[in-house]
Structures are given as C-alpha cells and as structure tokens.
C-alpha cells in the first residue's frame, strides 16, 4: 500500500481530504448496502401481532426470538437443513475429489488430449443450465426404469448430488489444474523414481500438497451448492427431501402474509453460509482468486 512517498504537503493534504471523503462515502454506502439484510433481521425479531396492530415502522414494543422458535417448529426447518447437509457435503467432497483426479492427470502426465479435457471441463462449467434441466430429468427416469426403480435417481439425494457434481467439477478441475501447475515437476519426478505407482503418486504425494487449494475451493463450493435451489425443484417431488433453499419457495407462498415468520426462516436459511464466510474468510478469498488469476 502507500508508504512514505515524497510528495508536496499540499498534495498530501488534498489526498487526505479526498481519502476521508471516500472513506466516509464508502462507509455510508456500506450501511445502505447491508440495510436490506438488517431490515430482514429486524423484521424477524418483531412479533407478528405488533406489526399488524402498529405497522412496520412502529417503535418495538417487544423484541423477541419467538419467530425463530416458530419457524423451526412450524416450518420443519431442521428437516430442510439436514437435507441441505446431506446434499451439500457429499457433493463438495466428490467434486473436489474428481476435480483433483482430472487436474492430477492432465498436469502430471503428458498426454495429447490433456488440453482438450481441460477445455471440455471448463466450457462445461459455463454452459447455461437450462439447456440440460429437462433431458437430465428424463435421463434419471429412464435409468431408473432400467433398474426397476424410478426413484433411483429422481427424487433421490443421490441424483441431486450427481447433478451438482457434474456441474461444479469443471470449475474445480480448472482451478486445481492451474494450482497444480505451480507444484514443481521435481516432486513428481522423484516420486516416480521412488517407484510409486500412479495411485500412490496421487494419494501420498500430490494430494497433501493440494490442501490449501482444496480448503479454499471447498469453502467456495459449499456456498454455491448450498445456495442452489433450482435443481431440487425439478428433481425432487417430495417436499420433505428438499434442501432449505428450495423449501423457502414453498414457505414463501404459504406464509405470504406472515412476514416476520418468513424473515426468521430466511435468516436461518442464510446463516450457514454467512457464518462460514465470516469464519473462513481467508479461504473464501483464496478460493476465488485461485480461479481467476493464474499463478
């Protein structure tokens, strides 16, 4: 950042004033930025009856957590959060695993098709999803029929996980391969010299070195997959199996007038990723930048 630079005093004063102005502006702007979220939190802390009787701007007569209790109880939020967990964790693990496998092969071994594989995966990540929704649905049904159980993939956590992995593995591959390019070739060479087979090469040598990249990526992937709500609407007909973000749709329609309850539900749904963001901020940022800047 700026260190002790030799500039005229007047310029420095001007700078300082400009800087303070900018700081203030950014500060105020930040408040405006976050206001909608604050308003929702505020709404969730006020009981419904207060709002009905006195309006949304009334001075709070009660601040209460009752909406949260009701949300958890009436909306079965526990079930939905569990569903989100069941879908997100395996998806992230599998995505990172598969991504690292592909990145491993294309960066550590010279094959002519390496580049094409990378192109395939990266491009796949950028395809518009609507291109695939319905055929994926049909595919799931047909495969299910083949095995005599329509619910093999459709309306099944496994199917949803598969879909998420398929869509995110491209990004993981791209990021991990550019990260792996920074791992010196010598490490791989000495592993081969030591007689390690491919599997050991991957598992014992390369994988541990990927830890920072995996940590960063996992934070990012968890956020994206957790936040995704649309696939579950298409692939899960059982409402009780849907992740919390998809269930919010139903709750939004059902509690369309009970703002306070809905607000509490939304805040609960948003909490996992927000908490994770604040706790693991560094990894988050690292994960993003791994993908966007090379080396």
């Amino acid at each position: 950042m700026s260190t002790g630079v030799v500039q005229s005093a007047e310029y420095r004063n001007n700078q300082k004033r400009k800087d303070t102005a900018i700081s203030t502006f950014i500060g105020i702007f930040a408040f405006v930025w976050i206001f909608p979220i604050l308003w929702t939190v505020w709404t969730s802390l006020r009981p419904y009856n207060d709002i009905i009787s006195y309006g949304i701007f009334s001075w709070p007569r009660h601040i209460t957590l009752v909406n949260y209790f009701n949300a958890i109880r009436e909306m079965h939020i526990g079930v939905y959060l569990m569903n989100s967990l069941i879908v997100t964790v395996p998806s992230v693990i599998l995505t990172l695993f598969f991504g690292s496998l592909v990145a491993f092969v294309v960066t550590r071994y010279q094959y002519k098709f390496n580049l094409w594989i990378l192109l395939l995966f990266t491009a796949g990540n950028m395809l518009p999803i609507v291109l695939t929704y319905i055929p994926v649905f049909w595919m799931f049904i047909w495969v299910g029929e083949l095995f005599g159980n329509r619910n093999l993939l459709y309306n099944n956590y496994g199917g949803l996980i598969l879909v998420h992995v398929g869509f995110q593995v491209g990004f993981a591959t791209f990021v991990l391969s550019s990260y792996m390019k920074t791992i010196p070739k010598e490490i791989s060479e000495s592993a081969k010299i030591d007689g390690a087979n491919v599997f050991r090469h991957y598992w014992s040598v390369i994988l541990p070195l990927l830890r920072p990249a995996l940590a960063a990526l996992s934070v990012l992937m968890t956020t994206w997959i957790y936040n995704e709500f649309f696939w579950a609407l298409v692939l899960m007909s059982d409402d009780s199996k849907r992740p919390i973000t998809s269930a919010l749709r139903r709750l939004q329609g059902q509690y369309v007038t009970d703002f306070n309850l809905l607000a509490a539900g939304a805040i609960i749904a948003a909490s996992p990723t927000v908490i994770m963001f604040f706790v693991l901020r560094k990894q988050f940022i690292a994960g993003l930048t791994l993908g966007s800047t090379k080396g």
């Binding site: 260190t3 630079v5 700078q15 800087d19 700081s23 950014i26 500060g27 930025w33 976050i34 909608p36 979220i37 308003w39 949304i56 701007f57 598969f98 496998l101 592909v102 491993f104 092969v105 580049l115 395939l120 995966f121 990266t122 796949g124 950028m126 395809l127 518009p128 999803i129 609507v130 291109l131 695939t132 319905i134 055929p135 994926v136 595919m139 879909v163 398929g166 869509f167 491209g170 591959t173 081969k192 491919v198 957790y226 936040n227 709500f229 649309f230 973000t245 749709r249 703002f259 607000a263 939304a266 948003a270 990723t273 927000v274 963001f277 940022i285 993003l288 930048t289 966007s292 800047t293």
Partner: protein, 303 residues
C-alpha cells in the same frame, strides 16, 4: 549420484505399468464420463429436440418440425424480443455500471482506507446468500406492504407498482442483481490488486502522478488478464440471469428473460419444444464469451 539419477530417469520414461495406465484411465474416465453424461449429452439432446414437436411425455409423440419452432419464436413471439432486450440491458448494465463499480470499490478499498477488511466483508455479503433468500429480502423491501412502500406512506391498497411497472422494474431487478455482482467483482479484483507490485505505484507517485493516472496507466494494464476474465464473467453471468427473476416472478410474462422462457416452455403444463429452441438460442449467444474465456485462460497451452 548424477549417473544413478540419469539411469533412473531413463527408466521412469519407459511406459507405465498396466495398473498405472488403468488407474490413469479411471482417474480421467470417471469424471469425464460424468461430465459428458450430465452436461454434454443433455445439451445435444436439447439441441436435437428443438427441431421437433413434442409434448414431453411419450416418445411416440415426437414429430419432426424442422425450423418451425425457431420460426415461431422469431416471427410470432413478442416475448422473445422483450427477453432479448432484457438480457441485453442486463449485459450493458453489468458491463458499463456494475462491473466498473466493483472495480472502483476494489481499488478504493485496496488503497488502504480505514476498516477495509470490514468493508470487504460487508460488500461481499450478498454474494454469500442464496438467491432464494435474496428474493425474500427484497420482497420485504419492495412489495406492497414492504419497507419502501411504508416509507412513502403507502399500504397495499395504493402501493406504487414496482415489480409490475415496466419502467421501474428493470432497474430495480438490475439493482438487486448488481447488489450481488458488485461484491463478487470487487473481491475478484481486490485479490488481483494485491499482486500488483507496490513499488510500481510508489515510483509513479514519486513522479507526481495522481491517483487516477496511477490507476489508468499502471494498474489497469498490469491487471490485463484479470480485466478480461472479469469482462467474460460479466458476460456469462448476465446471459445466465435466471434464479433471481424466477424467485420474484415465477413466470416470464412480466420481465422476460431467455432462461425463463426456456423454463416456461420446456417444463410445466404447456410443454412444447419451443423451450428447447430458446435454450439453443441462449447457447448460441453464450458461445462467443465461452470461447473467448477459453482462449484467454489457456493462451499458453493453446500455442
């Protein structure tokens, strides 16, 4: 020592063992298969279906349609042109306003203003939220009976039309989308900025350059690869805009977008392969940004 190493090196250049080759094949094969089956095959299926008439249920009902679906879309469907317009406005807005704001924000924060870590978090917060949650948050703000209406003293009976007013709703939706996009761009750029050599900036400052000049002449050029990536990401995000508008409206009739039109026609109660045609049109529009991104990201490898 060297001789032994050379001998070993020569040995390791021999072809890999069968197990090794099998392992490699699996390593590459399974993920690739997954990708191809879940992404590329459906994409091709959609493309093929766009040339048929079908109601989406029984295979025997598929009839060849040629380019009829496309003709229908291009000549008979005003919603299509509205959607194109909306996607276009979205694109321009993101490129000309949202992304530059993100870059500007990143630059200012990077200069070390007080509390920059705090600001980073605040501005990035919307990106971490699910669009389902964002839809609810902004409904609270804007719907009849919500915050903004309340500020103006209007209740549900005389609330100003925001979601439904075509003059306003575009900007409101873009505002909400930007709310998210700006934070995302800001963070991307910030991390890139951290890698700009501070010595360069110092040297320029010593030479009497103003901040703006430093930004234009030193930072922007150094960040060239990041710049392009950001542009391409902006392009792709605006073409893929869907979740937010689906949450707010559910159907594409008020604020049509290509993605929404795909969904309305491809799924639901009135399935027709016009949906597939819309999806293909969207794909065609995405191809240029995708190829650009690929060329830039793999510049060295492609040589």
């Amino acid at each position: 020592m060297t001789t032994a190493a050379t001998v070993h090196k020569k040995r390791s250049r021999r072809s890999l063992s069968k197990t090794d080759r099998f392992t490699l094949a699996t390593f590459i094969g399974i993920p690739t298969l997954l990708q191809v089956i879940l992404l590329w095959v459906p994409a091709v299926v959609t493309i093929i279906l766009s040339f048929t008439y079908w109601n989406g249920v029984r295979l025997k009902d598929i009839h060849w349609a040629g380019i009829q679906n496309y003709k229908n879309i291009f000549f008979n469907n005003p919603l299509f042109y509205q959607a194109l317009k909306n996607n276009g406005i979205w694109l321009l807005f993101f490129i000309l306003i949202a992304t530059p704001l993100g870059i500007l924000l990143a630059y200012q924060i990077d200069r070390g203003i007080k509390g920059h870590a705090f600001y980073e978090s605040i501005y990035y917060l919307p990106v971490v939220l699910s669009l389902a949650v964002i839809g609810i948050i902004w409904n609270f703000m804007l719907q009849p009976g919500g915050f903004v209406q309340g500020l103006m003293g209007r209740d549900i009976g005389n609330a100003i039309s925001i979601w439904g007013n075509p003059k306003i709703n575009t900007w409101v939706i873009l505002g909400i989308a930007s709310w998210r996009h700006i934070g995302y761009i800001m963070l991307l750029y910030l991390s890139g900025l951290k890698s700009v050599d501070p010595a360069l900036k110092e040297a320029a400052a010593i030479d009497g350059a103003t901040d703006w000049q430093i930004f234009r002449k030193i930072i922007l050029p150094t960040m060239q690869p990041v710049n392009i990536i950001i542009v391409v990401i902006t392009l792709i995000e605006s073409l893929r805009a869907f979740d937010l508008v689906y949450i707010i409206y559910g159907s594409p009739t008020i604020f049509p977008l290509l993605n929404l039109l795909v969904f309305q026609n491809f799924a639901g109660q009135g399935i027709s392969m016009k949906g597939a045609a819309y999806a293909v049109i969207l794909l065609v529009l995405c191809i240029v940004p995708i190829i650009t991104y690929l060329r830039i990201s793999f510049k060295e490898d492609l040589k």
